[in-house]
Subunit: 361 residues, 2 copies
């Protein structure tokens, strides 16, 4: 020991070797593969996945590197979950409702119709018991998932005819993600949940008559306004869609305690950063769509919204009937929703309304 | 070299020493002092500062440690800024409006009356040019500041009489932070910006007749409902107060590139985490205040809000007249506000309203 210390340079080296045995430095280098459900270089959603990789690498001086795959580069978008569960990839970035074929309750961890906004979802998942329930659900598939980004409240979607009553949904071929698709199906639409890369081609080819995708920023990037005329709001089906990072559980447990802490902090960081990016760019894109492209904004009227809410209530309640865990998730989600609605009413809604009372400021 | 390698264990050691020279490991250990404007162990605001320290330490396996001081432990609350500027402390956690005596424009980086919500503020600071302007302002004092938490939309405050018209503000001794205090002053109130630890004692002793502090969670923790009867909404003066981490610029520049990246990610993480914590706990505390303590909720009526907005417009516009940088900050803030208001109207406001159209879900 004495000889080794002196070779390395005395006390400092002693402290160094005591803290971090030399072989551990090389061992601690980590390379991960991340599959995503997003098109290549896609703004917002794809950018979030890329930033997760960059934040992990930057904060560790390159000790951790993550190779990010767009949809179809390693596996198709909706096979990202299986790729991580089986170890083909180490982690995925996507929306949990894409896995509703595995378990309907996954919808609660992205968005459900008439559910909760971005900040309300964060309140539930981080401080209302949501994460523990999510861990139980994902755990069934050998995955540990975290909230990692939010695409903000969505728009109601693009239509080539006006929606004057719920009768107008009948016969419509429409792309809608998650349980919202089931709501429109019960109102007579033929809905399907196409992955991002297929949305614009399907709309252009007439395979679908209309679609929702995300919001003004991402919808403008896809060019949906080139095909469809009416742009409806509000997005009743996705009031604040959580983006998720799912990690193969063995990979997660093999990480050092510090790396797991860093990963969790990176996911929290992206939750704030991505939401802000969507809100900032949605505001700008909305102006561009209306002023430069002449898009016709339309609000679903109250009668349409009420009927959508009634059907949504049926669809959401049915998820609770699947099994005990689904019921626990449903009940926890709805309890948070009931409680936080009153705070949102006298808090953010009241402020935003008060701000519009006058144009002097 | 050959001898040294063999002593350390061959190729792995060679890689290790090539990557991280041994003395650097000890050199990279960092201890920082953080002063805050918050009472000791205070929920939400103080918790955010503590978590910044914990996240930095956890993600580096203890290589970085931050000692957090509550208000008055190292310096009084409102001297935190000077303590960091002069190097007495390395960083502060607080609200930028507390430094309005240094420059009125600091208000724009926490909250201004009828300004922007938490997510709108994040959109401006992170994606609308706010950070660059903030850097210029803080740079004058040798400080680099980041958004690090948000206490969500605030309540309008605690009163012992009903506010039926703006005449009722006249003669009121009231605690209000930031430019909101100036707005009430112009309406005849005697306002002052007491730091957190002094709020409850001042209300109990009658030094002030009423106060705003934060929101249901923090206000309940202070016991403000024990003294004041009426709890007003919405909080026109602070629609989404940004919490800030300010770092002595020399300390920041002395950090490694990786540590700076980690610090920025930690600040982003707390922006999401703290906002979610406030929203979750505000929702719960609101129920407790109303159901268990019989607090009387009151909404400022439209005439009061309109007059408050008119005076707020004057006060906010005057900040732009201070100097060129203040004008640049004001103009950038107001441009973001104008643009994002339309998105918030058809996005989050429309959704929250639609959700209340029916009680079936």
């Amino acid at each position: 020991m004495i000889k080794r210390r002196s070779l390395l340079g005395g006390a400092a080296a002693a402290a160094a070797t005591a803290t971090l045995p030399a072989p551990a430095i090389a061992q601690n280098r980590r390379r991960y593969k991340m599959v995503t459900t997003w098109p290549k270089n896609f703004p917002g959603l794809g950018g979030c996945a890329q930033r997760v990789a960059a934040r992990l690498s930057d904060a560790t001086d390159g000790r951790i590197t993550v190779q990010v795959f767009a949809a179809d580069e390693l596996v198709p978008a909706f096979q990202a979950f299986d790729a991580v569960a089986t170890g083909t990839a180490d982690m995925y970035h996507g929306g949990e409702y894409y896995w509703q074929g595995k378990a309907l309750a996954f919808n609660f961890f992205s968005a459900v119709p008439f559910g909760m906004t971005a900040t309300e979802m964060a309140a539930w998942i981080r401080h209302g018991g949501g994460q523990e329930l999510w861990d139980r659900l994902s755990g069934r598939f050998g995955i540990k998932a975290f909230m990692c980004g939010n695409s903000s409240v969505q728009m109601g979607g693009w239509f080539n005819k006006e929606i004057k009553s719920v009768e107008d949904f009948r016969g419509l071929k429409f792309r809608m993600a998650g349980l919202g698709g089931e709501v429109l199906r019960r109102l007579g639409a033929a809905t399907e949940m196409l992955p991002g890369p297929e949305v614009f081609p399907a709309l252009r080819s007439g395979r679908i008559d209309g679609t929702e995708w995300v919001g003004p920023w991402n919808d403008l990037a896809f060019g949906l306004h080139k095909i469809a005329k009416y742009y409806y709001w509000p997005g009743f089906h996705e009031p604040g869609s959580v983006l998720a990072l799912g990690v193969n559980r063995d990979v997660y447990e093999d990480m050092s305690k510090a790396d797991r802490a860093l990963l969790r902090t990176v996911c929290d960081a992206e939750t704030a950063y991505t939401l802000a990016e969507f809100d900032a760019n949605n505001a700008r894109a909305l102006e561009v769509l209306v002023r430069e492209h002449g898009v016709a904004l339309r609000r679903f009227d109250d009668a349409v919204l009420k009927r959508l809410a009634e059907v949504s209530a049926e669809v959401v309640a049915e998820v609770a009937a699947v099994d005990d865990l689904s019921k626990a998730i449903h009940d926890s989600f709805m309890a948070e929703r009931r409680q936080i609605m009153e705070w949102s009413r006298i808090g953010i809604e009241a402020f935003v309304q008060a701000r519009r009372l006058t144009s002097t400021l």
